[in-house]
């Protein structure tokens, strides 16, 4: 067994995982329409490869990646491309984003080029990373960072450990738990393929101690392989934070503004590992995922495997609809999830849960004054003083907040959770981060404008100068000519002599 190191702060919110954790993964019937956004990942949006009206097969690439950090998107089922246009995003803003709308034909016909690899371990690490990138796999724990990029870190960093982050520390969510229980062989195989790509021998699979069934299943599946350890970590939010889990397992702290790769560790989610397994063994791109649907306002909480692009509405209908019309709809967990403005939005690669919270669950009293109890300081896993950040942000002192570590905040929301005064600390901090980012952009724009303006005035000046010089040149030439003519008139003899 490996030693589990302590991490700073953290909270113990009510897990409420029992609502859905007992429900086996069930497949969602094909929806009538799928809305597949071109940007379901961090980085540049994908570029469409299909035309309106085109018939596509399941797994066929609909849009290709562009740039270094990007991911392609694939057809979640076979059918016809109804259109490529704007559709509301899976995002709190409710803004519309470029989206391909697909009408399923119900045949679920896979693309003929879908083919697995006999032995992924015979492939070079680069080839694995490339296939993972081609399959459109992104971090399925919620971050949606392109996995191909994250599997190709071998050349830049000295890596020694792959951590599979099965802690699933957000309350309510159970999709990773179910996947690890039901498909442990796939998860382990995917993790081994990832380790091969990263060039590491050591795989740690970490689960919070509230998931004994998944741990047992993984331990059984991993028994044949040396180098894989299934590790129990304490149930404490935010144990699933990459840096904190790495610290708990290795005792090493990731430096500020660095990656865990800087200390030799790469962290992936078990659902991502499973997607890698499917991509390599079966050749299947990422076209579906498992999602937890839960919350007090959900009639029948469940873990659902759904084609990407499924409207939230269809998912909710499958789970018996809402028992409370005024429920708060959330994408992700209740701690770091985003409110969703509408049930029309589609499910995307990074969405691991849809929660509908009842009025009782989301009760948020009116904020009271801060009594400086310091509980936010005690629980902050990043070592910040949230009450001070909050006070400065309220006073408009964003720079002061930055000087006190605002940008080191990972946004876990533990401070706001624990605050007896119900002060929306996480919201204040997020607001300030956004404001600082906007200011930085404005500053950059200003500097750029200034640079361009200066260049322009320099250019104008140069043109003026050139004109003036040309004018003077002409004047001089004219004068010289005149002088010459005059001279010629005055002394024709001399000219004649010449």
């Amino acid at each position: 067994m490996i030693k589990i190191h302590g991490i700073r702060g953290g909270i113990h919110p009510e897990g409420r995982k029992h609502l859905s954790a007992g429900q086996p993964i069930e497949a969602l019937p094909l929806p009538a329409l799928l809305h597949i956004p071109l940007a379901q990942h961090i980085g540049a949006p994908a570029v469409p490869l299909v035309r309106r009206g085109q018939q596509v097969a399941k797994g066929e690439m609909l849009a290709r990646a562009q740039g270094a950090i990007s991911a392609p998107v694939h057809a979640s089922t076979s059918g016809r491309v109804l259109g490529i246009g704007q559709y509301p995003a899976h995002h709190a803003s409710g803004l519309s984003v470029p989206t391909i709308t697909l009408q399923p034909d119900g045949e679920e016909r896979w693309h003929e080029r879908i083919q697995g690899v006999e032995d992924p371990f015979a492939l070079s690490p680069e080839a694995i990373a490339e296939r993972v990138a081609e399959a459109g796999i992104v971090g399925l724990g919620g971050a949606a960072f392109p996995s191909g990029v994250k599997l190709d870190l071998r050349r830049k960093y000295r890596l020694h450990t792959l951590i599979i982050n099965g802690s699933e520390c957000e309350p309510y969510l159970s999709c990773d738990d179910r996947l690890m229980r039901e498909r442990p062989d796939g998860v382990i195989d995917g993790a081994r393929i990832m380790a091969h790509a990263l060039g590491v021998e050591r795989i740690l699979i970490a689960l919070e101690d509230n998931k004994p069934e998944a741990r047992a299943a993984l331990a059984k599946a991993a028994a044949d392989w040396s180098g894989i350890q299934v590790v129990k970590v304490p149930t404490r939010y935010p144990m699933g934070s990459e840096r904190h889990l790495t610290q708990a397992l290795t005792g090493v702290e990731t430096p500020a503004r660095a990656l865990t790769a800087d200390i030799g560790v790469v962290v992936h989610n078990p659902a991502t590992a499973f997607a890698v397994h499917e991509a390599l063994r079966l050749g299947r791109p990422l076209v579906e995922r498992v999602v937890t649907v839960s919350g007090g306002a959900i009639a029948r909480p469940a873990n659902v495997r759904l084609p990407l692009g499924t409207p939230v509405r269809d998912l909710l209908a499958h789970c018996g609809g809402l028992s409370e019309p005024e429920a708060q709809l959330i994408s992700g967990g209740p701690m770091m999830g985003q409110p969703l403005p509408s049930t029309r939005v589609p499910m995307v690669k990074g969405s691991n849960g849809i929660l509908a919270l009842s009025a009782a669950e989301r009760a948020r009293p009116e904020p009271m004054p801060c009594i400086r109890c310091g509980q936010c300081v005690d629980v902050c896993p990043c070592g910040l003083v949230p009450l001070e950040l909050g006070a400065r942000i309220r006073a408009g002192d964003y720079e002061g907040a930055r000087a006190r570590g605002l940008t080191d905040c990972m946004g876990c929301g533990s401070c706001a959770y624990v605050c007896p005064g119900a002060i929306p600390l996480a919201q204040l901090i997020n607001h300030a981060k956004g404001e600082l980012a906007a200011r930085a952009r404005a500053k950059q724009k200003q500097a750029e404008t200034k640079r361009l303006a200066e260049q322009r005035s320099a250019r104008m000046e140069a043109i003026k100068r050139a004109k003036r010089e040309a004018m003077e040149q002409r004047k001089r030439e004219l004068a010289a000519k005149k002088a010459a003519e005059a001279a010629a008139k005055d002394s024709p003899a001399a000219t004649e002599e010449a």
Partner: protein
Amino acid sequence: MQIEHAATLAGPFTRTRNSIPRTMALVMLALTPATLFGLWQFGWPAIWLFGVTLAAALAVEAAALQLAGKPIGRSLFDGSALLTAWLLALSLPPWAPWWIGVIGALIAILIGKQVFGGLGQNPFNPAMVARVALLIAFPLEMTQFVAPAPLFSAQASDLGEGLAIALGSQPIDALSGATLLGTVRTELGQGAELGTLLSDHFAPLAGVFGTASGSLGETSALLLLLGGLFLIATRVISWRIPLALLGTVALLATLMQLIDPAHHAGALYHLLSGATLLGAFFIATDPVTSPVSARGQLLFGAGCGALIYIIRAWGGYPEGVAFAVLLMNACTPLIDQALRPRILGRNRRGQPLEPELPETRP
């Protein structure tokens, strides 16, 4: 089944069941045993004084909120004014006249808290501000202690007499006594021997159970300790300030007793007497006026403990808890600036850590 509204909230969408009124209520609950004991022990005059102080505090709070144009209902019943008055009352001589309680409540709520902007804004502990102001303004009334005369006992005053004492219309000479700290200090100053003094006046068991004379709610070390441990167990307060405070007092007392046993009593004497325990668990731990970081709280508690001992040993007053807490309150902003937690991934100076790679690649 439609939720077609703009989402304006940010997470988290779940929160603790804890609240400020609940915190205040738990502190009052923790104070209840020691308070009931004090009220029983000192009888009707003490009950009148306690009631008058609490009622006056609520009245002043309501008036101040009205004046400031703030909603009265919510703030009045957040429990903070009640708790302030409660703590103040516990620190008063039990048979002090009613107007001591009223003036104390006025100072605590108005000058101690509301002039700074109300809950959470005051730099100094309001109850201690009031206590110190009263001590300086009314030294006589604030140092007249009585020997315990429990309710229903022979020497206890009845309801009417109690009211008369609380109204200040009946002299209380018959029952006058002094606190242990006061007696020892006075008589040491007159050249008495510490050893005989302690054997005459200091009964550790009386200090533990609280059957000695003293302020209304400060006498029973045992009940205060139980209340304090309850607060630590329910996570209303952390152990840091009480432990640092009590530890420092005990350490200094032991040290000085070793150096000069003729003039300095030991740790037990200082821990059990006066307001040490009330101060350690209920007053120095006031969140508003104490530091927020773990190291800051340890330093704050240790500072309080050191000042308490210094004032008792060499200061002008026999008791120093109120002064010590106020002096350390003044240091709180400085401590909060100086002792912040280390940010994850950074060193204490705020620079990013150096990446640490294991020596051997497993």
